[in-house]
């Protein structure tokens, strides 16, 4: 229904007509570009049916988001939440008063003992802010004053699928639109030749959990808001490459012929959907140029390669994706979602975490520095974190040399930088065991509300009516954490 309303009141209709008359006198494809800018949909009175009026709701600080998602859930106790007491009381059982009824996953629920495990790595304080950062992250340590660490994140989910679905869509239940889709819906795109929401994946050597296309799905929103998976290799967008034996000019001829016949058929049927199809074909043609262009890092100077690390020249690595993210941001992509798999350390934590951290440390820091140098950090919001935290006690047999940590929903750490977020802040506190939040808790819904605020959106007002109900990213909860905002 919503889709139809949209169509009925689509102000683009006038433009389509205009476009159509232009095409029939043979205007080249480049002139068609403006017809596809979703900004045209904005602030036009006819949109009440499905799109809120007057967006953005406030002056936005951030224009775009780069989300460096650490899939599998990195341990807060080996990243940003420094708990020396765990070393002192190593092997002791987690006091029942601290655990306080927390439900456990089936992997540890039957354990008789919950022996506390020390951090596998040392911590130091960095920058003016005195932010505690573990030795796994020497590069992130250098940007300590640019980032804000939130150590008081919490969630309800204790398993990966619902937890990551919660983070990406605001609900543990499948089927809601992804964050990126909400922002695409609310803010539109800044580039007529690229999708407004893109996804890049990479994988470390640590224990992995799968990813699912539902995480970047537009749910019940129009599928133009769906995340587009950009892949390393020769076909960065599915079906982007022409087959062997078709040159660019052969392709142009083919498209011209398709348009010509479509145009004739439009005269017969009167259906404007055909005009729209012609325009989509032109957009596809432009994407065939613009996507490889933006993906081509060969012209990046040596200094940039150095900054991100040699790995950034290896397609499909986290470092390559981080550099790609900066290029996409420069090109006006609204929401750039990275996933790095391999953070699920149920066992073998000291070894695996070191490797995972090495994969992402330099490039994550490089991205922030790079954006800063280019003056883009102020309107680009960078987020780094996973879907929940990890237990302070050992999973399985107690062995200080090689142990694992189970899932932990009650407290974990993420960091954010740029885009309206106060830099150099340490927000929230956990108890001395790193188990419970004791100060300034930030729930996933609050995180979403805050992020939307930075982008100029009121999380209670950006709604979409579906199956008779007005849905929003924050569902029925969420408070903007004003303390985090610059």
């Amino acid at each position: 229904m919503e889709e139809k309303d949209n169509k009925k009141e689509n102000p683009l209709k006038v433009n389509r007509r205009h476009f159509f008359s232009q095409l029939s006198v043979g205007i080249g494809s480049l002139a068609l570009g403006s017809l596809l800018i979703p900004d045209l949909f904005k602030n036009t009175g006819g949109q009440q049916a499905s799109q809120p009026l007057g967006l953005p709701h406030f002056a936005p600080k951030a224009k775009r988001v780069i989300y460096l998602f650490q899939a599998g859930a990195p341990s807060q106790l080996e990243t940003f939440d420094h708990k020396p007491i765990l070393r002192k009381r190593m092997g002791e059982d987690l006091p029942e008063s601290v655990r306080n009824g927390q439900r456990l996953t089936g992997m540890t629920a039957n354990q008789e003992k919950f022996p506390l495990m020390p951090p596998a790595v040392n911590f130091k304080q960095y920058g003016q802010s005195g932010t505690w950062i573990s030795d796994y992250f020497p590069h992130i340590a250098k940007i300590a004053d640019d980032i804000t660490v939130v150590r008081s994140m919490h969630t309800e989910a204790i398993n990966h699928d619902p937890a990551i679905t919660f983070f990406q869509t605001g609900s543990q239940i499948s089927g809601r639109p992804s964050m990126g889709s909400w922002l695409s819906y609310g803010l539109g795109s800044e580039n007529k030749n690229l999708p407004s929401f893109v996804v890049l994946t990479s994988r470390g050597k640590g224990n992995s959990q799968g990813l699912y296309s539902k995480l970047w799905s537009s749910g019940f929103l129009d599928s133009k808001h769906q995340g587009v998976l950009l892949r390393s290799g020769k076909d960065p967008v599915l079906y982007l490459n022409d087959p062997d034996g078709i040159s660019r000019s052969t392709k142009r001829d083919l498209l011209n012929e398709v348009s010509e016949l479509n145009r004739l058929h439009h005269v017969e049927t009167g259906d404007d959907e055909i005009e729209s199809r012609i325009a989509q074909y032109e957009m596809a043609y432009r994407m065939q140029m613009s996507v490889p262009d933006v993906m081509d890092i060969s012209k990046e100077p040596e200094s940039v390669v150095k900054l991100y690390g040699e790995d950034c020249q290896v397609p499909g690595t986290y470092a390559a994706n981080a550099l790609q993210a900066r290029r996409l941001a420069e090109n006006g992509v609204r929401f750039i979602q990275l996933y790095h798999q391999g953070w699920d350390q149920h066992g073998n934590l000291p070894d695996e975490m070191a490797g995972q951290a090495k994969d992402v440390d330099q490039a994550s820091a490089a991205l922030v520095m790079d954006l800063k140098q280019r003056g883009m950090l102020e309107d680009t919001l960078v987020i780094w974190g996973g879907e929940f935290g990890r237990s302070n006690y050992c999973q399985g047999k107690f062995d200080p040399a090689n142990y694992g940590r189970d899932h932990h929903p009650r407290a974990f750490s993420i960091w954010m930088a740029g885009g309206g977020i106060k830099p150099g802040l340490n927000y929230g506190q956990t108890d001395e065991f790193g188990y419970n939040v004791v100060e300034n808790p930030v729930h996933i819904n609050d995180f979403h509300a805050t992020l939307m605020y930075a982008l100029g959106l009121d999380h209670e007002q950006l709604t979409y009516k579906y199956q008779g109900r007005r849905f929003r990213l924050t569902d029925v909860a969420g408070n903007v954490v004003k303390d985090l905002l610059a």
Partner: protein, 778 residues
């Protein structure tokens, strides 16, 4: 002098502004509805309830916990009673808008009094306010929600000018007359044949069928065509395709490991059931409760796999009761959305905010599905892989020897015996209402039951799934037949008579033709819930057989085609597009059923997102070879976490839960699939080779056109396409190496044709495959 003029202008402007202001002009600038005429009689269900529901029910509706000021507007008695918090005042006083506090608050300008309150971001249009006023003036009559009143056959309108072919036209025609519109002329036979073939079989009509039918007497031709198409086994495949979305069918378990399952024999059963024209009441009964039927056959038990098609986690360390609860919830929601057309899931955590369905009602439905001794898959994907364990009990084993008997329709295709998950109530459980819908927060116990507002659950019905099925298919059930009829209508016309085919509740759309919907629903039940009968009835109507062209007048009067002054014109599903291309190229393999197949897919997709190459058997995608590449798309392997991209790009759902209506978007990614998918390029190549090999030199272009679009090209079309073909011949004539590269596409064996001619003809076919008309049902 200048000053005087300026002053005069300012003065004049001010007067105009003042005048406009007093006239309320500025209030109405945003209100498109200010001048819309009110209906003579205001109808509660059609005019008033949608306004109250959308704006008021959140706080003054069925949900007792969120109700404010004790005021409830969805029930007549409460709405007309004295306000609990304001003695002597009434929310609604029949006949007196001025004494009706609800109305006064709605028209109030005072933010403190105004309803809905400003912070809700809700407000009524001027038209809606006027409607409310008139309704109160006319006596504020309440009615039961329209969809909960059992359908009746109302008198068929007798205006003979609109009674063209059958009763459908009488209803549609009379509505058209009311709107000042008329039917479009009948579509040409070639268009109609294509339309009917696509609707009934999901495939273009075979050229031989077209030739044969075109030679029949015109009066009988269409009737004959419908009968022939309905008798084709492709009919069952076509109907099954949509049912797979309703039933959230997949070949994998979902969640992060997303490993293999073998539910495909259930899918074979659905095809068989449609082709045998099993009546819809039985079709439902078998799927909901086949195992509980007296002397249940293995076929009837297999049908209950419907309830086990939901995702099942294999994540290590989950709390199984949490997930078991999710599975039961999923069955309940699927019953709601897919069969009853109700958003039952809204009542999982709290009383429904819009529909009169309480949380207790929800768990009454839930209780029917809560008696299964299911454990969830208690091993991770690595273990499951090693043990070849793909099903969670209860399940039935099916092997080749079953297919000699009652399961003859299962296509084992050389496969090992498989386990298909089914229903079996071997674990009687007390069901509790779950606070906030959480598995670990049981409150009051509840018995299996259904909301009496829909239809009381008769005392003589067993309180189990069989009783539920009987309740569903009771002639007095107001929803089941309406929902099915509406969905079939939506398949044929592109939109249902109720547009929200998943929601017949208060917040869903109202039917555009309520009398027609009811007439069809009753007629359907009177004729034994016969789906083929229903389809034929609709297809024989003049309404269905109209042209689909959109004239400028129609675009202005009814751009969405609500009133049906023309036939629907809309893009096919991804599955249908692929099948269409396979069929017209001659590649289509018509084998029915069997284990799902793996056609071409861009390389590396499963590998990039899996949870590790050891986890389960679906970590890498290896395409099939030979004929299995060219099966109909409903047999394409469905992995939930990464469904076939050439389908999802065309709006296929991922099948994590029941879906009854797909979007019909138009995106650049779709253009890329059609241009560059190996499958489509290969089809174009094979078709070109075949035509060249058949010795044709003349008329290649018109033949190609006709073969794909099932009509002859118009002169202009032929001119430009022929010119294109000749240009392509020249281009490739000068670059024979490119021609060789181009025609190398695809696994299908090559015929010995000249690469340059093949390339040129192949691209000409590719042009046609990329036309809007090709992928559209007109």
């Amino acid at each position: 002098m200048k000053n005087a003029v300026a002053l005069g202008l300012i003065l004049g402007l001010s007067i105009v502004l003042l005048y406009l202001y007093q006239d309320g002009y500025f209030d109405k600038v945003e209100d498109d509805y200010a001048s819309v005429a009110l209906p003579e009689t205001v109808d509660y269900n059609f005019h008033i309830k949608p306004i109250l529901s959308d704006n008021c029910y959140t706080c003054h509706g069925p949900d007792a916990n969120k109700r404010k000021a004790g005021l409830r507007l969805d029930i007549e008695k409460n709405a007309l009673s004295e306000l609990p918090e304001s003695p002597g005042h009434f929310a609604i006083v029949a006949g007196s808008p001025g004494k009706s506090e609800a109305y006064r608050a709605i028209i109030s300008d005072d933010p403190a009094e105004q309803m809905p309150p400003p912070e809700s971001n809700l407000s009524l249009t001027n038209y809606e306010k006027r409607l409310l006023r008139k309704w109160i003036e006319q006596g504020a009559a309440f009615e039961k929600h329209w969809a909960f009143i059992p359908p009746e056959k109302k008198k068929v309108p007798t205006d003979t000018s609109s009674y063209l072919k059958n009763e459908i036209d009488a209803f549609v025609g009379s509505k058209l007359k009311e709107k000042g519109l008329t039917f479009s002329p009948k579509a040409s036979n070639d268009i109609l044949l294509r339309r009917m073939a696509l609707d009934v079989t999901g495939l273009p009509p075979a050229p031989e069928l077209v030739d044969k039918l075109m030679s029949e007497a015109p009066d009988e031709m269409l009737q004959r065509a419908i009968d022939t198409l309905l008798a084709s086994p492709a009919y069952g495949e076509r109907m099954t395709q949509s049912w797979l979305d309703v039933a959230r069918y997949a070949d994998s378990h979902g969640y992060q490991d997303d490993s293999y399952r073998t539910m495909w024999p259930w899918r074979d059963w659905v095809i068989h059931a449609f082709n045998e024209n099993l009546s819809y009441d039985e079709f439902l009964t078998w799927q909901i409760a086949g195992d509980l039927m007296p002397n249940a056959t293995k076929e009837q038990i297999l049908a209950t796999g419907f309830n086990r098609n939901h995702p099942i986690t294999q994540e290590g360390g989950v709390i199984q009761e949490e997930y078991r609860t999710n599975y039961v919830l999923d069955r309940t929601n699927t019953l709601g959305k897919g069969i009853l057309g109700l958003t039952l899931e809204c009542a999982r955590c709290h009383d429904h905010k819009y529909d009169a369905i309480s949380q207790k009602d929800y768990f009454g439905f839930y209780a029917f599905f809560n008696q299964v001794n299911e454990k969830g898959i208690q091993m991770d994907a690595v273990q499951a892989k090693n043990q070849k364990f793909f099903a969670d009990p209860p399940y039935i084993g099916i092997s080749a020897k079953d297919t000699v008997g009652v399961l003859s329709f299962v296509n084992m295709n050389g496969s090992n015996p498989v386990n298909v998950m089914v229903m079996n109530d071997s674990a009687p459980k007390t069901t509790f209402v779950l606070d906030r819908g959480e598995y670990d927060r049981p409150t009051d116990s509840v018995l299996p039951g259904t909301p009496s507002i829909i239809l009381p659950f008769a005392n003589d019905l067993a309180k189990n799934r069989l009783g539920l099925a009987q309740w569903l298919t009771d002639r007095k059930n107001p929803l089941t037949a309406r929902v099915l009829v509406n969905r079939i209508w939506g398949t044929l016309f592109g939109r249902g008579l109720v547009e929200t085919s998943e929601d017949f509740g208060v917040q869903g759309s109202l039917p555009t033709h309520p009398e027609l919907l009811d007439w069809l629903a009753v007629d359907f039940m009177e004729n034994g819930w016969d789906i083929k009968y229903l389809i034929k009835k609709i297809m024989l109507s003049a309404t269905y057989q109209q042209r689909s062209e959109l004239t400028p007048e129609l675009e202005k009067a009814d751009p969405e085609n609500k009133w049906l002054a023309r036939a629907g014109r809309f893009r096919m599903s991804g599955e249908m597009i692929r099948d269409y291309i396979l069929a017209t190229s001659g590649l289509l393999n018509r084998e029915i059923g069997g284990p799902s197949v793996r056609p071409y897919q861009p390389e590396g997709l499963w590998e990039e997102t899996n949870a590790g190459s050891e986890r389960g058997v679906l970590t890498s995608y290896v395409p099939d070879s030979g004929d299995d590449l060219y099966r109909r798309s409903l047999y394409t392997f469905w992995k939930r976490t990464l469904p076939p991209p050439s389908m999802t790009i065309f709006d296929a759902p991922n099948r994590d839960f029941s879906e009854v209506r797909r979007q019909k978007t138009n995106t650049p990614l779709q253009a890329l699939v059609l241009q560059n998918d190996v499958q489509i390029l290969e089809a174009a190549r094979v078709l070109a080779e075949k035509m060249l090999n058949d010795g044709g030199k003349d008329n290649l272009v018109p033949q190609l056109f006709e073969r794909i679009l099932v009509r002859s090209p118009r002169k202009e079309e032929l001119l430009t396409l022929t010119a294109y073909y000749h240009d392509a011949l020249n281009t490739y004539g000068s670059k024979p190496k490119d021609a060789e590269k181009l025609v190398a596409v695809g696994d299908y064996p090559h015929l010995k044709t000249d690469p340059v001619s093949t390339a040129a003809l192949m691209l000409t076919a590719q042009v046609i495959y990329n036309l809007d008309e090709t992928i559209t049902k007109e």
